[in-house]
């Protein structure tokens, strides 16, 4: 299923996406309990280079911008890019446009790690505990997947799927169990359940500095693996004869996808559909070649999550909707649209 070839020129698509990204960033930074018009946002951003934004003399709007809104939007962008690219990788690895980053269970492992940080009181102690334990959870899940599926250096893709399903079930059950035990302290349980629904509230610059290197490494590695992933399209054997180190490539793709998805969960909780919808939709426009798909999906993913977070903050203000709820709501219409397209193509 695709748009008919020829496709729109790639450079134009990227340009359009970048312009849209800049727009959505400015609008998102300006929105909140203190609305700041776009021009003022730009002026404040420029001013932030020189002026202080902490202490009693700082401009209140500048403080809100730099302490709250800018880190939040930056984290949103990174989470969106990471999830979209991770999803693109999973779709390429499984040769299935319906695959998503959670298929192999690393997101669930990351969630369990974070929940444990809450339950042991670490989350109140220092804000780094949740992301660190989440990353640890993702890493351990990936190690488990390897251990379950890789024999003599070979990782069969069908086994990956099965192992992922098994691990997901196990880890979700473990997470629910931990939450039920923690219910005796209801503030903790409330924090946990809210966090699991995903959210970017109170993101700080520390979150930005923690996520940035991991996401940057992940994106760069994904682009490096782009052509290998393309070659999987006619099967692993064909890829091998064309010169791809198939098993290494699979393992690397897995690692990068897990790194990106784990980092996203670590700083944002569990949000769904970004890793599924964004690469799927972007592929329809720029085509399946990963050299193009990955950068385009990264930008589109950033736009998607920034916009979703904007809706989450603004739609029912002053109440903030959990981000996972907003992205989840986007799932249904997208799939219905896909269904309608398929019907039209098949003539049913």
């Amino acid at each position: 299923m695709s748009l008919a070839l020829p496709r729109p020129p790639f450079a134009s698509v990227v340009l359009a996406l970048l312009v849209l990204l800049a727009l959505v960033i400015v609008v998102a930074i300006g929105a909140g309990s203190v609305p700041i018009p776009p021009l003022r946002v730009v002026r404040l951003l420029v001013a932030s280079m020189g002026e202080p934004w902490s202490g009693p003399d700082a401009d209140a709007e500048l403080v809100i911008l730099m302490a709250l809104r800018v880190p939040r939007v930056l984290v949103a962008a990174m989470v969106g890019a990471a999830l979209a690219v991770s999803g693109a990788q999973m779709q390429g690895l499984f040769q299935n446009p319906m695959a998503s980053p959670d298929v192999i269970g690393t997101s669930t492992g990351a969630a369990l790690g974070a929940v444990l940080a809450f339950v042991f009181g670490l989350a109140s102690a220092h804000m780094a505990w949740v992301p660190v334990l989440a990353c640890l959870g993702a890493a351990l899940s990936l190690a488990a997947i390897y251990g379950l599926t890789t024999r003599r250096g070979r990782t069969p893709v069908a086994m990956l799927l099965l192992a992922g399903v098994a691990l997901n079930s196990l880890l979700s059950a473990a997470t629910s169990f931990v939450i039920s035990l923690s219910w005796v302290r209801y503030e903790v349980a409330q924090e946990v359940v809210f966090w699991l629904m995903g959210g970017l509230d109170d993101r700080t610059w520390t979150h930005v500095w923690m996520a940035a290197p991991l996401v940057a490494i992940g994106l760069a590695a994904a682009i490096a693996l782009a052509r290998d992933l393309d070659l999987f399209t006619t099967g692993e054997e064909a890829a091998a004869t064309l010169g791809v180190d198939v098993e290494r490539a699979k393992q690397r793709v897995l690692a990068v996808a897990a790194l990106l998805a784990g980092t996203a969960v670590a700083v944002c909780g569990v949000i769904g559909f970004v890793g599924l919808i964004v690469p799927h939709a972007v592929r329809l426009v720029v085509g399946p070649s990963h050299r193009r798909l990955i950068p385009a999906a990264a930008i589109a993913g950033a736009i998607f999550v920034i916009a979703a977070d904007l809706v989450a903050r603004v739609a029912l203000a002053p109440l903030e909707i959990r981000l996972g709820v907003v992205t989840g709501i986007c799932g249904a219409p997208f799939f219905l649209w896909l269904l309608a397209r398929y019907r039209r193509e098949v003539g049913a």
């Binding site: 902490s54 109140s124 780094a128 640890l136 219910w183 393992q251 990068v256």
Partner: protein, 316 residues
């Protein structure tokens, strides 16, 4: 190690490294300033053991929790409060409803609301997220975290701490003294009387050790049955379990207007209705705002419970 595992280990190390770097940046350096009476700048230790440095007497105080609202109203002139928790205006939970409703300060919902007010002191809950505190601190305002308010001694300690950080130690001391006087009165009245077995059973949950309820029962001259059974905090309890323990007195909270339905549920429940407490109508219902209070208003609960225990004993 194969490529895959090697990557994760390096990834985890990276994350840990970033966390350590962030941690070094976030922890404020302790100061050696002495706390001089009425003197600012001063450094106080908050409920979480953190050193909080106050540059000058706070005149733009934001309180994010109901407990700190309730503690601040009697000790600080209202014009120094610029932000209150939204719960302070909620008739279901607030013990300072009249004062808060009449107050001009806005209700706080988010960190942005707080920053907008340009506070010079912010009170947060013991369980507030670390990143929220960090965001608030990054803007220069001192943040005071309340302690776990699990018993009346802790509550009194916290009131003194709040007084110290806002520069109103004398007023705080007066509030604490009044609490102690009332508690002593209850203690002397209940001294020597038999101590009934009391169980909290509200919405299916009970309160065991490490809760303010536990301390309330003890000071009112009763025995917390759940604590005696080794229960901690607020777990769910089945009616069967309640019946097995068969407490002498049941305590529950109720929202305004629900008093009768709560009482009915306790007296006609399949398990709980068969307990000694239910059959003898030895049920104490506390308004939620009194039942859940973790401030000087907790003493109201002690007094009400003690009076009921006296009444039950007299009726036998």
């Amino acid at each position: 190690m194969r490529t895959g595992p090697r990557r994760f280990v390096s990834r985890v190390l990276l994350a840990a490294f970033a966390a350590v770097v962030a941690g070094c940046g976030a922890a404020p350096a302790p100061h050696a300033d002495a706390v001089t009476a009425g003197g600012f700048p001063r450094t106080v230790t908050d409920g979480a053991g953190r050193q909080v440095r106050i540059a000058s007497r706070p005149v733009r105080i934001v309180s994010q929790t109901l407990a700190s609202d309730e503690m601040l109203f009697p000790i600080v002139p209202p014009e120094r409060l610029v932000g209150l928790s939204s719960l302070s205006r909620d008739p279901k939970y607030s013990n300072v409803l009249a004062a808060a409703s009449a107050h001009a300060a806005p209700s706080i919902e988010s960190a942005e609301d707080i920053l907008r007010l340009k506070p010079d002191l912010i009170f947060v809950a013991s369980y507030s997220r670390a990143e929220t505190v960090q965001v608030l601190e990054a803007t220069g305002a001192p943040v005071y975290r309340l302690a776990n308010l699990d018993d009346l001694a802790g509550i009194m300690e916290t009131i003194r701490g709040v007084g110290a950080v806002v520069g109103e130690e004398a007023a705080a001391e007066r509030v604490v003294a009044e609490m102690e006087r009332r508690l002593a009165a209850v203690a002397s009245r209940r001294a020597g009387r038999p101590r009934p077995r009391v169980l909290s059973y509200s919405g299916g949950f009970t309160a065991g050790r490490g809760t303010s309820f536990d301390d309330v029962v003890r000071r009112a001259g009763g025995i917390n049955e759940a604590a005696a059974r080794g229960i901690d905090k607020f777990p769910r309890l089945s009616e069967e379990q309640v019946l097995t323990w068969n407490p002498d007195v049941l305590v529950a909270g109720y929202l305004p207007g629900e008093e009768e339905s709560v009482r009915r549920r306790l007296t006609t429940g399949a398990g709980v209705g068969q307990t000694t407490a239910a059959r003898r109508h030895q049920i104490v219902l506390l308004e939620t705002r009194r039942f859940l209070a973790v401030s000087q208003h907790t003493v109201d609960a002690v007094e009400q419970l003690a009076a009921s225990l006296d009444a039950f004993q007299a009726a036998q």
